[in-house]
Symmetry: C2
Subunit: 122 residues, 2 copies
Amino acid sequence: MSEKSLNFFGDAENCPVRNVMDRFGDKWSTLVLLLLEDQGVMRFNELHKTIKSVSQKMLSVTLKSLEADGLILRKQYPEIPPRVEYRLSERGQSLIPHIQSLVAWANQHMPEIKKSRASYSS
Amino acid sequence: MSEKSLNFFGDAENCPVRNVMDRFGDKWSTLVLLLLEDQGVMRFNELHKTIKSVSQKMLSVTLKSLEADGLILRKQYPEIPPRVEYRLSERGQSLIPHIQSLVAWANQHMPEIKKSRASYSS
DNA sequence: CAGGATCCAAAAAGATACTG
DNA sequence: CAGTATCTTTTTGGATCCTG
């Protein structure tokens, strides 16, 4: 793996690590995915109220890009006032365990990391 | 898990998901970690040459924050010209599998994601 | 060689007002 | 209700020059 994988670090476009972080390194995507995993189906304003600190605009942008990538499904009902429901797609479901394992690692190590960071000087 | 985890989504500081993404959502951290995992020990300029697109400043910033968090170890030799070696700490090692599983997922699904994204309109 | 300091450009995010 | 449009602020990253 060593020989071949190294090529990836150099070029920007085909680097799989970069592909991951470009997609999920933003501020809200993983949060929305985990929330939908937890709640099943949610409407726009439900998401907005649950993630209190997200702006309307960023939530909208996040949902659109997740939908564009086929990670969530958007269902709109032809009613007035309008109703829109979001939920994970199968593809989105398949991603969840990997995010959760990363979050679990963080929960476990964050106290030590914060201690390291606090005592770090220079 | 549902009841309790939901509290996290609201507040910013104590959200474990946010903690993860704040730490690893940047442009270079995961790349450096995986590269050190692959190569073992590397000097500053080695890293710089391997990750061609990173600037000197961002590499420096990235290495410092990874060191501050105790994810990598920095060893400086009292020579002239100076020599500095970087390698993963145990804590950093323990993180690698989780990043790799995410990258593996991405490698597997990125073609489909790109197709979805390309055919997405509105 | 391994960076630090400074300045600048670009991107991401937020506030606010408005609409079908 | 579920967004869009516009503007401003903040954050991030990069270029360049400098130093022990």
